[in-house]
């Protein structure tokens, strides 16, 4: 789990340099309308928590790090398997059997040493999620099962942190942007819940598309760039070539976000 390639230079809010304006690393994005030096500094002050370092986590971690998010914490409990490599380019065949968090940390620190990276090699629990989210501005759900997603979403609501949710199977995927408080929430999007399945087939490039869109939505949300899509879901079907943004209807009986449903205070 050794950091290398220049090591860390401070994290969110704690850069060792005077600023990002002079950094050649970000030259190609500083000129973007709505980003600029102020946006870049804002990203550098931001802490994002990512659940899952797999097929979606790979593009999300890579592009959030590349964009210059100051602090990125991620959690994953898996080891690298050969069958991961059709979509998870954080890992190589030589690393099969190694802990994902350990391998990913080294690779991401080499790739983006300015970022304060932290990895947790454990399954997510409500307590761990709460701890990770304590000083975060955004949660990103790259999990591979609904129970883990639900835990992150619950902790994010408790911490009033918005959530970018993503999932993929086959040629299809979805990205949802959910508010930290108020409707709608993850349980509004999946009223029937989602049973655990055997790992679905998935084309690596589809996970790449969906994960990249998640990173775009994360950056848009952090910088308030473009139209607000909080409370919406993007349904992607790469085979049919369709991308549909839909509003997520708030459930009047939602146990998490409906004002009409009495909830115990946590």
């Amino acid at each position: 789990m050794a950091a290398s390639g220049g090591g860390r230079r401070g994290g969110a809010g704690g850069r060792g340099r005077s600023g990002v304006a002079g950094e050649e690393r970000y030259a190609r994005q500083l000129a973007l309308p709505g980003l600029g030096v102020i946006g870049q500094e804002r990203l550098a002050q931001t802490h994002v928590v990512v659940l899952g370092a797999g097929g979606l986590g790979f593009p999300v971690l890579t592009y959030l790090g590349a964009a210059g998010v100051g602090r990125i914490s991620f959690i994953d409990a898996d080891a690298v398997e050969l069958s991961n490599l059709n979509r998870q380019a954080l890992y190589t065949p030589a690393e099969v059997g190694q802990r994902k968090v350990s391998v990913a940390l080294e690779r991401l620190r080499n790739f983006a040493p300015e970022v304060n990276w932290a990895g947790t090699d454990a399954a997510i629990t409500l307590e761990r999620a709460r701890g990770l989210l304590a000083n975060a501005q955004l949660a990103v759900d790259c999990a591979d099962n609904f129970s883990a997603r639900r835990i992150l979403a619950e902790a994010a609501r408790q911490a009033r942190v918005p959530l970018v949710h993503g999932a993929v199977a086959g040629f299809e995927g979805q990205v949802a942007v959910l508010p930290g408080e108020g409707p709608p929430c993850l349980l509004c999007l999946y009223p029937e819940g989602q049973g655990s399945q055997v790992p679905p087939p998935v084309l690596g490039a589809v996970a790449g598309v969906v994960g990249s869109l998640m990173a775009c939505e994360a950056i848009r949300l952090l910088l308030a760039l473009g139209p607000r899509r909080t409370g919406s879901v993007l349904l992607v079907d790469v085979e049919r070539g369709t991308f549909d943004w839909l509003a997520i209807p708030a459930r009047s009986d939602c146990p998490w976000c409906s004002p009409a449903v009495a909830r115990p205070r946590s």
Binding site: N145, V168, A169, E172, P200, E239, W245
Partner: protein
């Protein structure tokens, strides 16, 4: 009776058995049926449909389609 078009790609196609085009199945149903009843009538278990939308509106399995409507179905998508 009325006609409803069910559309679905990817992992749903094997259950949907499209006939109109590669992704669309034409179904004749009695008026007033819910989407859940329509799916069950053509042998699709509701568990295979995680989401559905009409136009730009998400609907659930209690939705009652009207004549000629196209409903796009989505399978459970939970991988990462």
């Amino acid at each position: 009776m009325m006609t409803v078009y069910l559309k679905g790609g990817g992992l749903l196609r094997e259950y949907l058995q499209p006939d109109v085009d590669e992704y669309t199945r034409r179904v004749e149903v009695a008026e007033g049926r819910t989407l859940r009843q329509i799916l069950e009538a053509i042998g699709i278990r509701p568990v295979h449909v995680a989401m559905a939308f009409v136009g730009n509106r998400l609907v659930n399995l209690a939705y009652v389609p009207s004549d000629g409507e196209t409903i796009t179905l989505r399978p459970p998508v939970q991988g990462g």
